[in-house]
Symmetry: C2
Subunit: 450 residues, 2 copies
């Protein structure tokens, strides 16, 4: 019983690469014998598709399937292109229905049809049922494998059913109880089953206070419910209340992790799901769209400042404070939108009403604005001496803080209402808007008061 021992280090990687070059199957098989499939997956990311296929073909089918299942979707797509339809079918036949459906969804429709036709009968019907659902709803997350018991069964019958199903259902924490029309009545935990007299009727020990989700529920919502109620698995029912599948917490952990990653990418202006170790071209392409928009914003700024050419020519110092105004507007905007996004993400938030909320945002903005303007007024006085421009800069800064807070708060709310991911608003979107807004406010203030 040792803590996780296997560490991918450069040394092992290099030795492994040598063995690969020499196609030294014995070494490879032996060195991977004791390694957890999840670690082999991580290792294979380092090698070419062909090399990885060579390694996998050396491993038992069960482990091979597990590893292919663990790959991220993009890698798997390229990877499976080295495989024949027959080979993929063998792999898919080893998987749980939800994982099988995920892989089939990634394949060209012709290939996936061919594979479905050749699957084992039970998996085939399960997969066909699952493929109806979008990936990002409960129906697309669920697996069909579960242990079902009728309410008039005894504990012994239940155990008998578990024995029968144990081959297909690798991980389960409870038996779901249904009536003869498949309507879900409740669940019996394994714990309860162990502790009950074998002749007890299932209906007498079932827990009917069970959280369920419906097939059409969004994955974000499912994740929220499971983490709110601390559930390790949740049954999925259709609109008729019939039990159609179950979702386990490990699928939801993936949803939460992916969501966090997606939010981070949106916040930093990256459009595609890209990773540092993707190709140079892909990395470039994922960055360009938001950079373009930033550039356009900059161009509009330049054009806009053109109207104030005379003012700037007269008092050059006007230009000095442009970075200050824009940076503050940008920072305030991002802070505001980020707090709104957080309140939209974390559950249990009762809408206080838009007006009350805006009033509060407005108060915070006023306070921040006053602090910062006074600060800037003080510093500029100390550094540049007294000048009417100090006054104007401080005043403009105050307005910029207030307006940027407002935009930062309202934009994610609007995006959310329109069905977009509100995290979009915490990225270059809000920065570009606030840059322009800040500039406009600054020059308007100059125009009015200088």
């Amino acid at each position: 019983m040792e803590p996780i021992e296997f560490e991918l280090n450069k040394e092992f990687r290099d030795r492994f690469q040598d063995a690969l070059n020499e196609r030294d199957g014995d070494f490879i098989r032996k060195s991977l014998e004791e390694v957890n499939p999840a670690d082999i997956t991580a290792l294979l990311y380092e090698f070419s598709g062909e090399e990885s296929k060579y390694v996998l073909d050396l491993l038992p089918l069960e482990i091979r399937s597990k590893i292919i299942n663990d790959l991220d979707s993009d890698t798997r797509k390229t990877f499976l292109s080295h495989y024949t339809t027959q080979e993929i079918t063998e792999v898919v036949n080893q998987l749980d229905s939800d994982d099988a459906a995920d892989i089939l969804n990634e394949l060209p429709i012709k290939t996936s049809e061919e594979i479905i036709a050749r699957l084992d009968a039970e998996l085939k019907s399960q997969v066909i049922d699952l493929l109806r659902y979008d990936e990002n709803v409960a129906g697309g997350l669920m697996a069909k494998e579960l242990i079902k018991a009728l309410d008039h069964w005894t504990v012994v019958q239940c155990v008998e059913e578990i024995r029968k199903q144990a081959e297909h259902v690798t991980k389960f924490y409870a038996v779901y109880v249904v009536d003869t029309t498949d309507k879900l009545l409740g669940r019996v935990s394994l714990q309860k089953l162990i502790l009950s007299d074998p002749r007890t009727l299932v209906k007498d020990i079932l827990d009917d206070d069970v959280e369920v989700v419906e097939t059409y529920m969004e994955d974000r919502e499912v994740a929220e419910i499971m983490s709110k109620y601390d559930l390790e698995s949740v049954p999925v029912v259709n609109v008729q209340g019939q039990l159609v599948g179950r979702i386990t917490i490990d699928d939801v952990v993936d949803v939460i992790t992916e969501q966090a990653e997606e939010d981070r990418q949106l916040m930093s202006g990256i459009t595609e799901d890209v990773e540092e170790d993707d190709s140079i071209w892909r990395n470039t392409r994922a960055r360009l769209p938001w950079l373009f928009i930033g550039i356009l914003g900059g161009m509009v700024s330049a054009r806009f400042m053109g109207f104030f050419e005379l003012e700037i020519a007269k008092i050059t110092a006007i230009a000095f404070f442009i970075p200050l105004i824009q940076a503050t507007g940008g920072n305030v905007g991002i802070q505001s939108s980020s707090l709104v996004v957080q309140s939209l993400v974390s559950p249990g938030f009762v809408d206080e009403g838009l007006w009350k909320r805006l009033l509060k945002v407005f108060s915070v903005a006023l306070l921040n604005g006053i602090f910062l303007s006074l600060l800037v007024f003080g510093i500029t006085w100390l550094v540049f001496g007294y000048d009417p421009l100090n006054m104007v800069v401080s005043m403009a800064l105050f307005f910029v803080v207030v307006f940027a807070s407002f935009i930062g708060t309202v934009t994610p709310l609007i995006l959310n209402k329109m069905g977009f991911n509100p995290a979009l608003a915490s990225g270059p979107f809000i920065t570009t808007t606030n840059d322009l807004l800040g500039l406009a406010i600054y020059f308007l203030t100059i125009h009015l008061f200088l």
Copy 2:
């Protein structure tokens, strides 16, 4: 069996508030009877501490404890200040050891000592053991409640032990098997236990290929391991390999969620763990530090541009392109740092070596730089006509993109090495640095080529 029914709506909230004002205990008790404790928790966030206490005192001790346990740490701290030591002791006595330790950690040391002294004997010794660990290591996450079996026991003895422990251990998925010195040997899943002959020896059915974590492991690491290997619970061992506790997946879901929130806050320049519905003052205070730094950056920019007053006075248009240069530098920097942070967060990434990595970042930056400079050169030509300044702006932009990528890549790597959260680098930190850098490059280019 209905999907989650209870929805916090304004109507219910208002009716509830009326009942609270009239101290209508009967209505409150009745309306909360069927409601899941997790939903009551969400509801209580809406009311004052005193009102919430009134509501909780109406509920059975078990539910009251569950709700207090569900509160977020900040709310609970203020909330428990309305409680006597005796009342808190009653609540803590109902909790699992890990939750009890969390609450005790939040209380003033004197109160917590008093409470520990009055706890039930078993919980008391468990809690004392847990309080030794930091909150953010495996030892601080784990609970002491688990089902332990000796390797020479039979399945029947095991079930007997489960029966004895079932009162204390509410949720478990496996029995951990130890030798007489408490050294962990493996685990037996409940599934296996149900399916095995009662006279089988535990050592014959145990699975010894179990992932374990050690007490000092960081919570981020535990989360990674559990999600990588899809574990619903993981045993915790000390350095001697003795079983000391277990961590369940729901604790880890909380770790992942908090981590994502923390990253998002760092990325948006918010220093304290603050939520939109915290007080106005707290919201202001959490925002000011990074805004100050932004302002200082802006001041340095202003001072710096002062050196180029003559140039700007001669060609006002120089000022026009400052926003363009700065925005692009900021955007590129954030994109780069965000990708690095992602690669640091997602496990299974083998370090390709710093130089190879920088070379790649450099290539992407070159490509982006060339695209964007050409674009800007084209647009400025079209919009403003040909001018030597166009050339200089495009050139400066190219250098800004390259340098900002470099800074954006290196900063999080350095922060990570120094033990800070690298997400810090995707926020105002990188923006401020890149603003200054961009300005310096721009004026240097002007100075050299115009």
